[in-house]
Amino acid sequence: MSSNVQSEKFRGSNVKGQADLFLGPFYSLLRKEVMRFLKVSMQTILTPMVSSLLYLLIFGVSLGAYIQMKGGISYLEFLIPGLVMMGCLNNAFQNSSSSIIIAKFSGDLEDLKVAPISYTQIILAVALGGLVRGVVVGTITYVVGAIFCYFKADTVIAIHHPLWLLVFIVLGGLSFSLLGLAAAFWAKSFDQMAAVNSFILLPLMYLGGVFFSIDNLHPFWQSIARANPLIYFINGVRYGILGVSDVTPEHACVVALVTLVLMYWLAFRTLARASFLRW
């Protein structure tokens, strides 16, 4: 009997009662998502930093010198919150989509299906993983932009409404992370994933008011632009940082919340129908 107990211990017991099927899978998957982008931080953090620096140089300095925005702010100042949010959303999307596409390709997506994990746990963990990367990239972009602005234009970019900023970063990061998850679970090939990137994500980004104020648009284009949810996320962040925006933060917040709910629904629906089998 006692030898039995000993061998049980030697076998490395894991008493079933200790298993936490609620937090365990969620925490483990979230940890994996975050570790994954940290292990390739060259691509996932440094590249976005370089690209926002390029945007600042090209648009903020060379072209921006000729543009004056309303409310007495320079184009460079106007640009920074947009770049922060674009970096955040884009990286949130890329994190969940590339994580899942790679998992499909290498086969470890099957591990998730075979384990006792619920769709909700997968969705929450992957969405949060994307948000973490979005926040990291957004923060770096802000710091780079603020330093750049300080030396170039002698202006300090202070954060006017930190709580609003947090609200829009979190809602936006989660929404785009969920969109990336849905797209990657839906995609049956690299080509399909690339198509989502270039035909949906990029147009939304570039027409989302990072580089222009919708007030400067023709009324017809203004109404088109208002149909793009990115306008609200980006203007929300602009309000959070600069205290000025094209839409009120309350209005933007409602749109952001509705977008998040829609994206969650889309992610859940796609996941429930998706195949976890390897490509």
Binding site: G12, N14, D111, V114, P116
Partner: protein, 297 residues
């Protein structure tokens, strides 16, 4: 919910580790599995034996919910894998046929994630034990691509065991594996059996089934032709074959000995002239013969 509320697969006081009932799986027009039914006893090693394309992987994929059955049902420990997937899956370990890559992560990290997926956030004791057992401990800081083929396969097994499953599914564990590793894996399966783990393994190696399995299900073209104890199959369907060489006759004659028959019986039955016999050669029956008889009869 307790296991007994899900009545299928529950007989009196024992719950079947795995019960497959009238399982069919079609891929479009391809009928990969046709109305397959079998039941595992606690603690046994059960082999699904059949040629490539017989439908073995399809059955395993349905058990672990990677594929959805076209019809039929599967119960693990009394839980319906379709209706109660999480309860069913928490006691199952699955070793897939194909190697899985894990990109940036090393062996230790992979096992830590895998433990977490089964709800075990502090599982170091168990994972270290498994790493030692499968002789991967020295390689725990390597990534999958830095491991040899044999180590990759052992890692798959390690992953399947982190949560001490009661049911282990091994899909062609020794396909494409060298003889030494095959022997090691066989020993390991025997050890797991001794620990009380129920094992379902698929194979197309008859020798493997013969060595490891208490019972065998013969499967071909999606249909389970027969489920019997390994010994019974060998006894019933294999005869020892006897080759007799006669004096002054060039071509030897072949006879078959049925179970329980002796060479003496044969000589009497066939009225052979003992004085004319130059040589007698007896070869023992194998599961291979049984397999041929059942599937290609």
């Amino acid at each position: 919910m307790t296991a007994s509320e899900n009545s299928a697969g529950v007989t009196k006081d024992t719950v079947s580790p795995l019960l497959v009932q009238n399982l069919s799986k079609n891929y479009g027009a391809i009928e990969a599995v046709r109305n397959a039914s079998f039941n595992l006893n606690k603690g046994e090693v059960f082999g699904l034996l059949g040629p490539n394309g017989a439908g073995k992987t399809s059955i395993i994929s349905c058990i672990v919910t990677l594929e959805k059955p076209t019809s039929g049902s599967i119960f693990v420990g009394g839980f319906d894998v379709q209706k109660n997937p999480r309860e069913a899956k928490r006691n199952v370990g699955f070793v897939p046929q194909e190697i899985i890559n894990h990109g940036y992560f090393n062996v230790e990290e992979i096992l830590s994630f895998q433990s977490g997926y089964f709800g075990l956030l502090h599982n170091r004791e168990r994972t270290d034990y498994i790493l030692h057992e499968l002789r991967l401990y020295e390689h725990r800081h390597k990534k999958v691509k830095q491991l040899s083929g044999g180590m990759k396969r052992r890692l798959l097994i390690a992953k399947a065991l982190v949560h001490s499953p009661q049911l282990l599914l091994l899909d062609e564990p020794t396909a494409g594996v060298d003889i030494e590793l095959r022997e090691q894996l066989w020993q390991f399966v025997k050890k797991l059996k001794a620990e009380g783990v129920t094992v379902l393994l698929t194979t197309h190696y008859l020798e493997e089934a013969e060595q490891l399995c208490d019972r065998v299900g013969l499967i071909d073209k999606g249909e389970i032709k027969m489920v019997e104890s390994t010994q019974f199959l060998i006894d019933k369907f294999t005869g020892r074959s006897v080759r007799v060489k006669f004096r002054n006759v060039v071509a030897p004659r072949d006879f078959e000995l049925r179970t329980g028959e002796t060479v003496g019986d044969l000589i009497n039955k066939e009225k052979l002239d003992v004085n004319q016999i130059e040589d007698i050669n007896i070869s023992e029956g194998t599961l291979e013969d049984a397999f041929r008889r059942v599937i290609y009869q």
